[in-house]
Point group: C2
Chain length 151, copies 2
Amino acid sequence: MLRLSHLTDYGVVLLSQLAQEAPALVTAPGLAASTGLPAPTVAKLLKVLTHAGLVSSHRGAAGGYTLARSPVCISVGEVIAAIDGPLALTACVEGAVEVCKVESSCPIRGRWSKVNAALKHALSEISIAELATPGSPVHDMPAASGVALSH
Amino acid sequence: MLRLSHLTDYGVVLLSQLAQEAPALVTAPGLAASTGLPAPTVAKLLKVLTHAGLVSSHRGAAGGYTLARSPVCISVGEVIAAIDGPLALTACVEGAVEVCKVESSCPIRGRWSKVNAALKHALSEISIAELATPGSPVHDMPAASGVALSH
DNA sequence: TTTAATCTGGACCGAAGCGGTACCCATTGG
DNA sequence: CCAATGGGTACCGCTTCGGTCCAGATTAAA
Ligand code: FES
Ligand code: FES
């Protein structure tokens, strides 16, 4: 139902926690403790986030993780793309690997890309810092419109 | 990977096709033929869309389906909500039924709702008509930002 | 009245993706 | 040399999704 995967959710949580713990070096078990997430999952996620260049790792004894950049420079979209893969709503969006089976006789051909771009843009406008800090809406989001999107 | 389900994709395709076939009454097998989608799936989807009030059904011989409203008044978000369920990115977004397991010690508590609202708004701004008609961008979408969202 | 076309609702099943776990290797500071 | 920590990979059970099928209700037309 257009949900984020659990891993992605937790990934954002981890980055927010790292943002709150200032420039300190935090270990994987430490993060698991402070967030309440299961330790093995945290470790797995940190590997992925490191590989994506969102966090910096320091190996060896007394090692740990830190944010690679300022939290205001990390967008939610980047985190989603790092863990869940590139944002491609359908098979027939520009950049998707697979091809749409019914592309020949489809009334909307490549026009899904417009929706995809809109979502990409919306996600790139929200930074980890906005999610980590209590106050600060920063962006004036016009209250989700009046159209009913819930059941 | 933040994909739309196949059914949802097809649902939008069906509505677009209905929008193109003017106010004509189209049968389920007819829609399957014109879109190239498997007939049983089309039938299943039309039931759901009817139940959601997006299409009108006419039973009996010479029956068929029609759009319930003008295609410009049907947003992509509505279609997604009708088929995939309400847009709730995570378990801890306002309106979600389940509760987040780590809500007590979570650095971003209910702040996911901001992201959710942004996506809802983006999806409610795009109508079926925009996807069904060849021209007309209508909305000035600022080219999906520069932030890399692909792998 | 009879017939045929069409929608309605529900049940069913196989396949794929996801979440979670475990294991062992590489690196580094003490 | 040793202990602590990250790095990588492989595995497995569960849930969900996509797709199919069938019996029943409804209505226009012959
Ligand atoms: S659904 Fe893929 S091209 Fe239309
Ligand atoms: S992830 Fe649910 S409250 Fe933070």
